[in-house]
């Protein structure tokens, strides 16, 4: 196997004794779009700044295109970084901002002019080249920052929550633009985000982070369908997976809360061999269907709320003290009250104690 384009091994970083990154290994292939996904404070920006050279790691190494870069100062790394607050130089026009990296490389004037034009065209801002940053909207500033980073033709493009300051409508269009830009330039991109929908829709692969560790690194589909832990299952998906605890009775049967329950034969086949007191099922709407309360294998529940979303409705049903979410088409008739919930597909199953997915399942 050829080594990855960007490979980070054994990376650790603490701020005055408080670890921000515990131990991170990560590899990104050339031309790939990777999303670093995790809740606020989990160390995403720290990892990005280490790669860019703005922070020194306590341990670990970084190679980029076969070259070890962890000792290079940031200005020799050829890595483009777009900051969350854009960090446009306020005393320079849009064109001067985009040209800055080229001037630092002492590029001849004509060539630099052409590059600036190309970069601005790529983000559709040629007409604003003479403006000052303070005269731009947030979305335009974001695109200038992007153009400035792309103009140097970086070996790697790092984006730190590039869309978080944009309103919902703009965010959607910039998402598409970013994807297109990635396709056109063939750049290798690492994008930080705490928005799972953004990561799912934009990235080739996602690295899910929590508390200074990478929990899972895979394609969006695998992350969604085979989450490595209950944390990943609860962090990813709209709505996120709900955890339903299933207990093993002394007689070998199963129980939900205090009442006994007989799972479908298909699910029982998976649950039977697990020698645990209890497991958690990671249930998404796709695993569930509404039935009569007394249908075979159904879990008895009570409808709590119904969210109307136009084409569909989300029904929140309380089962064994847990809230599960089901999806119904917009016109299906439901009232409140007692219902049954059937598990129609085998969901991922997690260890109650460790939260890890049990390897035999899902």
């Amino acid at each position: 196997m050829t080594p990855a384009y960007l490979s980070i091994t054994g990376m650790a970083k603490a701020y005055r004794g408080t670890p921000a990154l515990r131990l991170v290994d990560l590899s990104v292939n050339e031309g790939e779009f990777l999303a670093l996904l995790g809740p606020s404070g989990c160390g995403k920006s720290t990892l990005l700044r280490l790669v860019a050279g703005l922070l020194q790691p306590d341990a670990g190494s970084i190679t980029l295109a076969g070259q070890s870069i962890e000792r290079l100062p940031p200005h020799q790394r050829d890595i483009g970084l777009v900051f969350q607050n854009y960090a446009l130089f306020p005393h320079m026009s849009v064109a001067k901002n985009v040209r800055f990296g080229l001037s630092m490389r002492n590029m001849p004037r004509a060539e630099a002019d052409q590059r600036v034009g190309e970069a601005l065209a790529l983000v559709k801002l040629e007409h604003l080249a003479a403006r000052m940053p303070s005269e731009l909207s947030g979305g335009q500033q974001q695109r200038v920052a992007l153009a400035r980073a792309i103009a140097i033709r970086p070996r790697l493009l790092l984006l730190d929550e590039p869309l978080s300051n944009l309103d919902a409508v703009l965010r959607n269009s910039v998402r598409t633009e970013l994807r297109e830009l990635h396709a056109r330039t063939g750049l290798t991109v690492v994008m930080v985000t705490h928005d799972q929908a953004e990561a799912m829709t934009m990235a080739d692969r996602i690295a899910v982070m929590s508390d200074g560790l990478i929990l899972q690194h895979d394609t969006p589909q695998v992350i969604y369908e085979q989450p490595a832990s209950d944390f990943v299952a609860k962090f990813v998906g709209t709505p996120p997976a709900a955890m339903l605890r299933v207990d093993r009775k002394h007689d070998g049967g199963f129980g939900l809360g205090t009442s006994p329950w007989t799972p479908s034969p298909e699910l029982a086949r998976v649950l039977e061999p697990i020698q645990r007191v209890g497991v958690a099922l990671g249930l998404r709407p796709d695993h569930l269907a509404l039935t009569a309360p007394d249908a075979p294998h159904a879990m008895p529940g009570t409808i709590r709320t119904i969210e109307y979303l136009g084409a569909e409705r989300l029904v929140h049903v309380e089962v064994g003290g847990q809230l599960l979410v089901l999806r119904l088409s917009g016109d299906a008739a439901v009232g409140k009250g007692e219902v049954g919930v059937a598990i129609t597909r085998v969901p991922p199953i997690f260890d109650i104690e460790t939260g890890l997915r049990l390897a035999s399942t899902g």
Partner: protein, 265 residues
């Protein structure tokens, strides 16, 4: 309701007017008196002429004093600004225990009467053997104005977004080029503001200058002061003062127009 409103407005306006009169009246007196044609200081003048201005330009004593003031002011500004900028940079970039007490301490000379401070300084200069020297005078003025410089530069550096320097470095700028292309262009209004304030403070200083420099380096305000004590008011000094005043007003207008002075200090 409206009447009451108008009433309070009138009171505020009157109050402001009193303030302006208190501050500006002495200046008006000086300006008018400088154009007087009599041989002694009087206000209001009985007739007008430019003769005191002519006398001022002819007097080598005042020219020398102005020269000393200018030299001391420029040197003190250079020293104070360099030291103040570096200190402010260090303060803005580091977090350590006792940082806020150091910031407060840096302001101490502002609160202390200059005379007290000058007496202490005199002792130290005696030990160092730089009492009565130009170096001693420049250092005294620099130390006196350092708090202004630190204060202004500190707020300048705090307003300077650090990610700008990081962005520049990821774009390929080496540390010296980051300073040249990003830091300096963004802090120069602060630098200019503290330079002007420092210079003007040094230029106006009497107490410390008298004690430190003795009679060897007479700055302009010191000369003026001693003149006043021995022979009363010489109209020549009034004319010079009026010219300095005009210069300072021009400085202040420039500072306000281009550097937002009133919001910075």
């Amino acid at each position: 309701m409206n009447l009451r409103r108008a009433g309070t407005d009138t009171i505020w306006i009157a109050w402001m007017a009193i303030g302006y009169i208190v501050v500006l009246l002495p200046i008006v007196v000086v300006v008018f008196a400088s154009f007087s044609d009599s041989n002694t200081f009087r206000f209001p003048p009985t007739g007008y002429s430019l003769k005191w201005y002519q006398a001022a330009f002819a007097s080598s004593e005042y020219r020398n004093a102005l020269g000393v003031s200018l030299l001391v002011g420029l040197l003190a500004t250079a020293v104070s600004l360099t030291a103040g900028t570096l200190a402010a940079y260090a303060l803005s970039r580091s977090e350590f225990r006792g940082k806020s007490s150091i910031e407060t301490l840096l302001l101490a000379p502002l609160a202390l009467p200059h005379i007290v401070w000058a007496i202490g300084l005199l002792q130290i200069y005696a030990w160092l053997g730089i009492g009565g020297t130009l170096l001693g005078l420049v250092l005294a003025h620099a130390a006196l104005t350092l708090p202004f410089a630190v204060r202004i530069m500190l707020s300048t550096f705090i307003q300077l977004d650090r990610t700008l320097q990081e962005a520049a470095s990821t774009l390929g700028a080496s540390p010296p080029r980051v300073i040249w292309h990003i830091v300096l262009p963004l802090i120069w209004p602060g630098v200019l503001t503290s330079a002007l304030l420092t210079f003007l403070t040094s230029f106006n200083e009497v107490t410390v200058s008298v004690l430190i420099a003795g009679s060897r380096y007479l700055t302009y305000p010191v000369r003026l002061y001693s003149e006043l004590r021995s022979q009363g008011i010489d109209p020549t000094t009034v004319a010079i003062s009026a010219m300095l005043l005009a210069l300072i007003v021009v400085f202040a207008l420039i500072g306000e127009r281009f550097l937002n002075w009133s919001r910075r200090v």
